[in-house]
Amino acid sequence: MEHVLDIHPLVIALTIFVMAIFIGYYVVWSVTPALHTPLMSVTNAISSVIIVGALLAAAPMESSLAKILGGVAVGLASINIFGGFAVTQRMLQMYKRK
């Protein structure tokens, strides 16, 4: 596919980044202060989407140091993903109306 404009991928990434900061700013200010602790635990869980990098590193056939590091990172990120979402769910279930 021919690109009409020759834009470097970094510029596209930067565009996404800046827009997402703005979205984050407005969305987080709308979070009720009563839920700030679940906000921290869920951001913890979702920041572990860094697992996508770990998965790629752990995926090649040949063994290497890079692959070992990737495998460990998959494990660490998984602790966070499962732990983060589970503890968030546990907390949210405590919030009840009268």
């Binding site: 969305v27 009563a34 602790t37 660490l76 602790i79």
Partner: protein
Amino acid sequence: MTANFAAILYLISGVCFIMALRGLSSPASARTGNMFGIAGMVIAIGTTLAQPGVEDYLWIIIGVAVGGVIGTVIALKIKMTAMPQLVAAFHSLVGLAAVLVAASALLAPDVFRIAVEGDIHLISRIELSIGMVIGAMTFTGSIVAFAKLQELMTGAPLVFAGQRLFNLLVALAIVALAIIFCFDQSPTIFWIMTALALVFGVLIIIPIGGADMPVVISMLNSYSGWAAAGIGFTLDNSVLIIVGALVGSSGAILSYIMCKGMNRSFISVILGGFGGEDNKMVKSDKPHKAGSADDGAFILSNAGSVIIVPGYGMAVAQAQHAVREMVAELNKKGVKVRYAIHPVAGRMPGHMNVLLAEANVPYDDVFELDEINSDFASTDVAFVIGANDVVNPVAKTDPQSAIAGMPILDVENAKTVLFVKRSLSPGYAGIDNPVFYNANTMMLFGDAKKMVEAIVKTL
């Protein structure tokens, strides 16, 4: 799967994460939000596993299984009072994962398609350095925060002569090494830079005192986001960039809210040295009125309206369930009871709300400082339990005090103030509280839990 299709799936995943945060605008929508978060994660992982380079699933399955079991068990067992430590520990894992991914990318750049014949693109070298440095700082900084919160090390600020200059030199060295690495792609330089960043993470957290921990946790939350974004740039992965930006700004906003709750500037928190455990014990012999549980019960049951002001001391004494019982008894007698939460009532943002929710306090009875502060004047009884600095009017009257300008709950405006406390000792900030000696204040001396239980018996 084509690259374009994968990119679209990552975009959907990113939108799910935005919805997850959006759900937290009210407790009613929050659980749906969490489901969106889980969906986003499943999509992101599934999409990655379908990439052409992914050939061997063994390590991945083992990693996810082991990590998943550990994470789930911890999440189900953890006490709500220990949430700050747990979050700090989780932050350190994000940091370490970022470090490992960055290291892996350096060792095998072809896997991540960031190099031509082993020669990593200049842009990718910069991105790798940023991701690695922030990840390493997050990792060790969070470990120190964890150790302080878990009381494995002293909560008092650790300061030494020339500390700021030393920290500045370490920071400059890291930047210099990063620049060298960008030119020659030397792994040795990269590892030295990583080691220094690990040390730097420790250095920036040790001078920060116990009282400022809510800011520190929020700040590390923010760092973990920026670390993820840094890796996202390296991998050119949109969902990782989106999440990094969301988490980074979330942590930054929470840090700001916590700073405002204590009227501390972010810079002065970072520079540290404030709020240790070594309270100056001010022996007070000023006249004050002390009462028994019977007196407290009598005043409470004759009140029309009560506002409870809980502090972290209540949670330490495990008194929240007893308080809930007391409120149930008062409600039976027709007394209107509400809770007033100061932004820094707990040890992390929103901590007190979770502790009350765990004790089955309905969230519509719980109010933030701004919502309820003007109501104290028309309230019969303010019941302060385990809190001190957050109701200290010195914050408004003495510009020289350590808590000057901190927003406080105006309990002294209530007709009667009941203050449950062990003694007249000052709080975290080491400042005497004039409310103790007011004519309309009655001190209920004793352990928070025992005192409330005694009140419940009398009611």
